[in-house]
Symmetry: C2
Subunit: 299 residues, 2 copies
């Protein structure tokens, strides 16, 4: 079943891709085994992350336009909060991106975040590898930049764009701290806001002070709704993709990916029913200890 | 080493607890094995979570005061973002809680969030179990309510208080959606703000509509800085702790805890150096496939 889908995906069958992603989202068996047998093409994956309301979707939309204009094809994964309460917000993004929903060179897919309050879908890594098999030139992954570890986001994407807006406020500060470490490129969106200049110089200072590895992260001002600054973002991204990554960081990310997949592999070998029964039985005991149960059960 | 510390912790030695937590934060070996051999006392763990700026620390501070006034002893874990940029914020919380830092019946400890942009420390579960060995009557765990899965927060605490502030804005909405599912009690803090009444009725409607299990989550208005409503929060929490939890949910949480510890157990058995060497060698190959490597390496 998966084999057939993969070959359909490789031929550009959008419906096969959609179905495969849905199954991957729902933990269907066979995916990991299939991916182990497929030559997954190397292609640029660009992560677009930042706090809610920063304008990630608008920037993504503008990036799609710029790539399409160059004759490229693009696949886009949007990771949205999962609650039914959010249907409105998801729809909002979809409407804003609707210009591209029907374009033959664009594939857009929203993923739910399973149980998490933002951040990445637990299978985003595998799903991105599925999408790599689809004949698109480039993959954009848009995620809410809260809650995931930098390794999760940065490990997924070849290059990560962090979108911020000129704002003070504790919330943005909290997010920025972590986002600082994963950014290959900062976009200060809504840069026509009153406080923009001060925000940008603050960010520049933070970037200089925080990175001890001597790398200067570029900062680009945009007004994505008016497509201002988008061209510079595209040009800079292309330069970033051409320049080699740091070996040390890439080794670390490959190790983290491998650990993630090892954990998946082990968990899949667990028999949940058997595990539950054993756990329940152990919990009957007067001196039940979960740590002791785990070390017994794992061996 | 751990054995000695555990017995010191059981005797109320604050320095032993501090040292043990630091080691647990830094992945010291021996912790899981030690916890497997200790009788971990059952005691109430109350999670206090919500978006940044909602006033979690102020509420925690007020809760400490109320518990102390009843002659109880309290241990508090604060999970703060890890970036050096945040020293200010962490200090801010500490200053606000300084009244209790020197009180003999209060133990307060800040944990860094390792690499995550908020949310929980990856070893929070084990650290909380360590703190349970300390002779405090009750444990409060204060976390930024973004990014962690509901199972992570709810699985940690016996009861979870979600602190919100009357505000509109996309960001709060995004967080609320996930927080709705984990709350045992809502606190609407800063309820003297202009929009408070509208916010509260909006929240009441959401709570009614979203929970299909027929459980009505209590909503309490507070002005924590003036200690208004705190008494009601304490009373309600006590009632909640007395009432039995839902079996189904508790089974689910125990399974999730067990899975988390199983993963830890497996990862610890990995030889990182050997893994890295194997991965590096495999990556030299023309047709390197990470999934194939993982399934070979895991078996």
């Amino acid at each position: 079943m998966w084999d057939k889908w993969i070959s359909q995906i490789q031929q550009g069958d959008v419906r096969a891709l959609a179905r495969a992603i849905s199954l991957a989202e729902n933990d269907s068996t066979g995916l990991l085994e299939t991916l182990a047998q497929v030559a997954i093409p190397a292609k640029p994956v660009i992560g677009i992350t930042g706090p809610p309301g920063a304008g990630k979707s608008t920037l993504t939309d503008a990036l799609i336009g710029a790539l399409i204009a160059e004759g490229k094809s693009v696949a886009v994964l949007c990771v949205d909060p999962s609650s039914p309460f959010h249907q409105g917000a998801v729809l909002g993004d979809r409407i804003r991106m609707s210009e591209w929903y029907t374009h033959p060179n664009v594939y857009i897919r929203s993923l739910a975040t399973r149980g998490a309050l933002g951040g990445l879908h637990p299978r985003i890594l595998e799903i991105t590898d599925l999408v790599k098999c689809f004949p698109a030139d480039c993959i954009l992954v848009e995620t809410v930049g809260v809650g995931q570890s930098e390794v999760e986001v940065a490990g997924l994407a070849d290059r990560t764009v962090v979108v911020l807006v000129p704002e003070a406020g504790d919330e943005i500060q909290t997010m920025k701290a972590g986002l600082l470490e994963i950014a290959d490129l900062f976009v200060v969106n809504k840069s026509d806001r009153p406080d923009a200049a001060r925000f940008q110089s603050h960010l520049e200072r933070m970037v200089r002070e925080d990175r001890t590895d001597g790398i200067t992260i570029p900062i680009i001002s945009t007004v994505a709704t008016e497509k201002k600054g988008i061209e510079e973002v595209v040009t800079t991204l292309k330069e970033l993709l051409r320049s080699p990554g740091q070996q040390e960081r890439e080794d670390l990310l490959m190790m983290e990916k491998a650990k993630h997949l090892l954990r998946e592999h082990w968990l899949r070998k667990l028999d949940a029913g058997k595990m539950k029964a054993s756990l329940r039985e152990a919990m009957q005991s007067e001196n039940f200890n979960l740590y002791a149960w785990v070390s017994r059960y794992a061996d």
